[in-house]
Subunit: 288 residues, 4 copies
């Protein structure tokens, strides 16, 4: 985020739970002069459960120290705890690609928030299966690529998308991209993929959620941001929210009102992901 101090770092750890992890990690940081600013932890169970930790710390000269921190953490701590871990400078923006079809609300909302420094991201590329939003995206100074997708051309289109993004991004966000990505694409992209679905999952997974919400007569409609997996709308949920609706709302009005929830939920999910707040635990997430 704009204004994040250059000496703020984040450490994320996950490992099998056992006594002494916090003491071990906090001592490691203290001995190197790092001051813990925030710390969150969660365990799925004290015996044999999985332990998750996110630490925010200040360390003067962080940029230069990071490689050494990582090496020493691996040597001193990982060896004992068998932990997965990740260090990151809070000032380093996440490089993001956005996929979109024709609805502009999620795309514009992310571009606005990025421009005003509200999200710790750098949008590197927008890809769409329609040309409609090229002008909008150009106004933000972000490259736009039109990659049409038909049933026949989908494999080739996905190859082109992969070529465009390879090594350039840390995160792919599907900002109302109305095509299903293949399992092969998700394997090869090599970075997390966040999708926004326009219902409060697991209700109305799949196509036409607002139509089905109208038919069922629900009194709340919602949106869910989740990590995309090969099983459609089944990936770990990051964030959800809802808004109250009445019998008066047509499908068209549900779609409009839902759009406000979609963009808010997606923006929160992207922010939290990029601040290393979201840790995947099987089919679910821990959000610190």
């Amino acid at each position: 985020m704009t204004g994040t101090a250059p000496d703020v770092g984040r450490l994320v750890v996950s490992c099998t739970d056992r006594p002494g992890i916090v003491a071990c990690v906090s001592s490691f940081l203290y001995r190197r002069g790092a001051n813990i600013v925030q710390s969150d932890q969660y365990s799925t169970g004290p015996v044999g459960g999985r332990f998750f930790l996110r630490v925010v710390f200040r360390l003067p000269g962080l940029d230069k120290e990071l490689p050494r921190l990582e090496r020493e953490f691996r040597e001193e701590v990982t060896v004992r705890l068998g932990a997965d871990f990740r260090f990151r400078a809070a000032s380093a923006p996440t490089r993001v690609a956005l996929f979109v079809s024709r609805y502009d609300h999620c795309l514009l909302d992310l571009l606005w928030r990025a421009r005003r420094g509200e999200l710790p991201i750098e949008v590197c590329q927008v890809v769409s299966n329609h040309p409609d939003l090229a002008g909008e995206v150009a106004a933000f100074g972000v490259p736009f690529e039109h990659v049409p997708v038909t049933r026949a051309t989908k494999p080739e289109a996905e190859r082109r998308q992969l070529d465009l993004l390879r090594g350039r991004v840390d995160l792919l966000v599907l900002a109302r991209y109305m095509q299903v990505l293949s399992g092969g694409f998700l394997d090869r992209i090599g970075v997390p993929v966040i999708n926004i679905h326009h219902s409060f999952l697991p209700a109305f997974a799949g196509a036409g959620p607002y139509e089905r919400a109208k038919e069922r007569g629900v009194k709340l409609i919602g949106a869910s941001a989740h990590y995309a997996t090969e099983e459609l709308d089944e990936g770990p949920i990051i964030e959800q929210d809802v808004v109250r609706v009445s019998h008066r709302a047509s499908v068209r009005e549900l779609t409009r009102r839902g759009a406000d929830i979609e963009r808010t939920v997606l923006a929160r999910a992207v922010a939290w992901h990029c601040e290393d707040r979201v840790l995947v635990n099987g089919r679910t997430t821990i959000v610190f």
Copy 2:
């Protein structure tokens, strides 16, 4: 509701939509000296759709006038519009039976709201398949009947329940009653049945919604009040609400937090039903 003026009446009408319904109904009331206090209407479509109307009016001496109003409305208006309609004095409480198992929160909340005059109901009978809550109910001066239910005794138990309630109630509320009522029971009971389900339907219909919410990692849990039909958890939804939860909440904590939503949602649904605000339209409801 305590304090409802004795001269306030309600009229609910539904019919095929056509021009002039409001003019016809409002002129009918005006000519009899009734002053319209509130009026809500909804149409599923201007041509061939279904029209729904709820009117609240004041008419001095309402109690004596009601039979004449009904007869004349049938003769003058129904003949022209082919409408279903219902007149009711707002001061007439709805006679309610409550079915409950072991969880007390919905039961106590309704009994307490009824006692303080917050709901326009008179609770005539509580029936439970467990004896646990007999003392609680007695403290409110309401008859309690323990009707045990096993797979083998269910038909007999339902006969006993029907005998208890026949002609004595206008509404049956399932306040966390953990038995499924048979289609035959629902047919014979002859009054609307409101159920509270502990999820935001259609998500987690059926058994164990909090367990399944935990497994799926949703970020909101909810409750839904709906009219009971033979298809479990598929009846028209009256009201829903949700509360935010995090990964930290165990199933036990979800159950606790959900209880607060359940009792609130059920109390709203019962209040709205008894104020003639809820009109069924196929699988959905109109809530004025």
Copy 3:
């Protein structure tokens, strides 16, 4: 709103409450072939109170019929009821001017909603006391005027603003305009003025609401859209909403999170005003 049928009209009436108003108005419309689509009413008291009515109706050839409707309504109904009233074609957009300073979120949100046909408005002019947002506004094809304001030049600046808008707009929206408009300006502008204040009024009226929210340690921050009056932040409230915050949020983060509430609340207030849903009743509003 885009897609509003050309034959839909709205009628808003307010008068002293008395029996027969609904019958009188609905008969008037029925005799002219108008079909009532929606009707809302409210009375501050049955005896001597003020009665408010909003009717949406369909009438083929509405555009041509409106002048005649108005004339006849005045002659036939107003004479009897002593009512204020206003007819309007739902398809006629409200002409809007936006005043803004440096914060762009409310401005962009309204421009974007107007472009996608979500608000029944036509933005005719943007005026700012800073030049910063000229490029943004130009991208929407809307005229932008930079009118600097200092303590010394304020009278002249207000004259220039009035010259710009005179006769061209039906509504002025202060979309985070950080200057106080004089009573003289509000008198002369001759159209309603909607302001967005960044707190849940009456809490934190005046300057620096987020700073004061932080100091007081509130657990919710909010925004309020209200009609501007000469008394700062005291005008009738149209809409409010809040969002939960914790002790962790700095003033900067409160400002960011609040921005999402501000733009949502302002967009709702503008939509409702332009759909003739908001009726002023002394210091308060009725929102149908």
Copy 4:
């Protein structure tokens, strides 16, 4: 809370912020065989700010170990950090007195929740300036004392209240107690006092908040739980929530709807306080 494992303890620490606090505390616990289950921290500023820490840990045989833990923590840690701290067994219930006037909703809600094991409290005494709720309270097996208060008898009444509670309670909760407690009483009671105010403070502090909400035409009403201080309605806020209302709601209906928010907000505040989640920081609170 019912079911809390007997070996779970909590440690709350506050001190001037400086590097190494987390390392110091976590090492102290680790060396004594305690496993950290949850840890939350907050600092008002890295340099010269105030640091707050809440740690939940498991330690076999906690009950016997607590006195030694406290002594050693004082000797080893407090000496170095100059910290305030408090150890507590999570299984030890907080002893609570409830003060109430005539409204029963907050009182009953706390008694219900305590009875079903939802709150980690033991209600030792109810005191009221009216006799009305004696029967209700008796049904829960809790002592009820009627202490009338008039302007003239207030000093004597407060003495009697102090005599009743002295040494018997850890927390006093004002569950809609409509008398102002004197500064002298608050000094002498010697335990924290939580009050529920029926508005979203700082809006409508003082008397008649629902009346004033109606006059001002707000679109949300709320409730605030806060620590009572000598300055009325100015103490540190623990929790707040709101509910949407419309112009239709009378003061009576605002009062009813507000009651649901009041009891929910108060129950949350009491739960959090008794779980040692609430730390006072000047005029504000930190809620972990």
